[in-house]
Each structure stands twice: as C-alpha cells, then as structure tokens.
C-alpha cells in the first residue's frame, strides 16, 4: 500500500509535466496514451524511481515517444505545433504578442536537440544534471549543448543575450558538482 501511495503521489505531482512534455513530443492526440505508458514503466520500476522523479520520468517519456515516433519529420511537426499553441496562451498586448511570436519563430529554427535542451531547463525546470540524465548524456555535454543552443537562439533573434563562455563554464561546474 505504501508503494501505491508513493506512485499516486508521484503521479499527482508530475503527471501534468509529463503530459506537457509528451504533447510537445507527440502531439495532443496521443499524449495521454504516452503518459499512461510512461507511468506504467514507473509502476513497474517504482523502486528505481529517484526523488525527485521528474528527470527520470521525462527520460522514460522521451524513450516511449521515441519508440512511437520513428519519423523525425513527424516529431518536428508536433514540436512546432506545440510551440504555435503557446501563441494563444493568455491575454497579451500587441508588443508582447510580437515578442512571443519572435521567440517561437526562433525556437522553431533550432534543431530538435537544441530546442529540447532549452525547454528542459525552462518549461520543465530541470537542473543541468537532471536535463542531462533525461537526454542521456553527461552534464558537461548537456551544458555545452545548452550554451550553443542559447547562442544560436540569440543569433536568430539578433540578440547577444549577454551569456558569455565564462558564465556558462561557471554554471557547468556548479551543476556538475551537484
């Protein structure tokens, strides 16, 4: 019963984040089914689910959706669709709408992996170490990817962004030692 309670607690805390991630990856039609698939794995491997569980769950969701989406083109279509959905979120003034559109357009121009690196630390609030675990790479490799993705995003937006190599390196060291 304690295991069941833990599973339910994890589900209550993280299911919506996993759903959002899967909506981004596979689209709204199949996201809930993939959530069920992800949490089925969590139920089976409950003893291995760490605390906090988010990065572990997103890694499972990533694998589940990767198995499901063999076509890169199809996956990109879902990702772009999820980004477009953000343009209709909330009530914004025209300046904010323009800025939001610019951001979405810039994110769309990134590669899938660069975009995912940025979204894992922003939309899903993962640390570098957690995001690295989710993308199944080292923390250092993730930090480098994120830095490059951030720089490309700034370039697409025509902004420097003020993020220096020194800043990223310091950040990388901090995350790597967690």
């Amino acid at each position: 019963l304690a295991s069941q309670h833990r599973f339910e607690a994890i589900y209550g805390e993280e299911a919506e984040t996993v759903l959002r991630y899967l909506r981004y990856r596979v689209g709204p039609d199949e996201a809930e089914d993939m959530v069920a698939e992800t949490f089925a794995v969590a139920w089976q491997k409950l003893d291995q689910v760490p605390d906090p569980p988010r990065a572990w769950l997103l890694a499972v969701a990533r694998r589940v959706s990767a198995n499901h989406l063999r076509s890169r083109r199809r996956r990109r279509a879902h990702e772009v669709g999820a980004l477009d959905e953000t343009l209709t979120t909330g009530i914004l003034d025209s300046e904010s709408v323009d800025r939001r559109r610019d951001l979405v357009t810039a994110l769309k121009k990134l590669s899938s992996l660069d975009r995912e690196a940025i979204l894992l630390v922003t939309w899903y609030d993962l640390t570098h170490a957690e995001a690295a675990a989710s993308m199944e790479c080292s923390t250092t490799a993730f930090a480098v990817r994120l830095h490059r993705a951030r720089r490309r995003l700034g370039a697409v937006l025509g902004e420097d962004g003020g993020v220096t190599d020194h800043h990223i390196n310091r950040n990388t060291m901090r995350e790597a030692t967690r």
Binding site: E8, D33, F39, W43, L46, G154, L157
Partner: protein
Amino acid sequence: MNDDLFDEIRGLQGPTTSWATSTAGQHTMLRAIDRAQNAASSSAENPSASRWDSSRRRVLVLSLCGVFSLTAGVAVAAGGPTEVVRGAISAFTHRPDAEGHGGVLDDPVLVAEFRTPRGIYAFWTATSSTGAICSATSDGTWDGEGAPTAAELDGAGCGGEVISHADPSKHAPLTRLDQLGGFFRDAAGPLIYGVAPYTEAVSVHVQGKGVDRTLPVRADSHGFGAAIPEAVNTDVVRLTFLDDAGVELGSERWVAPVG
C-alpha cells in the same frame, strides 16, 4: 539558469491545470497501472503484479465470499437483462457444488450501472422466496447496450458471507441487501456501490478526502453507485442518506478493503 531570455521562454507556457487530479488524469493513471499489471502478469514473482491482482480480485471475491462463481460457458435463456441475470443466477444455483436459494427467485433488479476505465460496471440483486439474497455482476465486459450475454456476466451467486462496510476485516452472513457492495479502490479505479438501508432514501451524499458528491438512489432497487476517481487518496468515505426533502436519514462510514 539565470537568463532573461530563458525567463521569457518559461513565460510561453500557460498556467498549470491540475490535470493529474482531473477525471481524464485519473483514468490515465489507472490505464498506466493496468498496463503495468498486464505486462507483468506473466511473472508471478513481480510484486507489482501480485499487489494489483489482489486489488482487482477483491471487488468480486470479497463481495460474496465463497459463493461467487464465474458464469462463462453457462447457457442461459435469451432475453432482457432481467432474464439473463435470472438465468445466470439459476444456472449457478443448479450447480451440484452450490448452495442455491432453494425457492422461487424474484425478478432481479439493477442496483448500479456506471462506467469505469475498464468499461461498464453493473450489479444486479434478486431475492428468493426463501429469503436468500442473490446477485450478479458485469465488470467491464458488457457494453451497456441491450441485454448482457451470459459470458458478459462476470459472476453470479446467492448467500454466503460479505465483508463489513465499516471494517473490511470482519465478515458476516449475507442476510440483507444493504450488506452488498462497498467502497473499493482497485484496477477499475475507486468506485462505490450498494443498496440504501432506508426505503425513503432518494440520494446519498458521499464525502471523504477529495470526495464530495451526491449520488441518486434508484427507486426500484434503492441502489446507487458510481466511479469516484477523486477518491484515489482516501480509504474512508462517509455516506449520508437523504430523503426527498433533503432530510438526513442516517449515515455510515465505509472503508476500502486493503490487499
């Protein structure tokens, strides 16, 4: 990462929606558990599987301890739900190893019919001229259209023992209709069904942690029931029976069996 651009990207997302505790979210959770159980069912050593199997069984087995019988393969007369249920109960009571009701069976009545993640859950009762109490269940196999076939009734039986609503560790001989049913948390999700102990009851208010809803009581069988996915975090609910003027007739504490 402390970065204004990243903060802007964070702001692209809409507010959270409590999806996990919504009906859709709860159904998805139950689908996950069901899938895990199905995937692991071939492994008898898998603790998740055994934990879930025992939960799944309790809806049927503990409702009518020792007398509930699968009806698959039993031939019964065609007709409406009443005839099919009657046929299933009769077929059961004619088995050489069954106690039976030993008299004339009244027409079965529907106590509850509601949808769970597994499909339609339906429960019928029938009393006998000898005072025996019989029942039949369909758990996710009947689509709710027309009459169920015999194969779509998961169990039928008469008499036996039932668990106490207030203390599932206690069993008692089945002598009253309102002893049937219960509050269960199993593969079909939290669900509740039963027979009101008051003939004047028209509704029952169900309250518990995360649960606050009123269910109608059927006029014919005095039965009630519903899937209550919001009860996923509680093992105890309080039922308050009300008459048509909203006056409280009485209340009971129902505890979900464990294991």
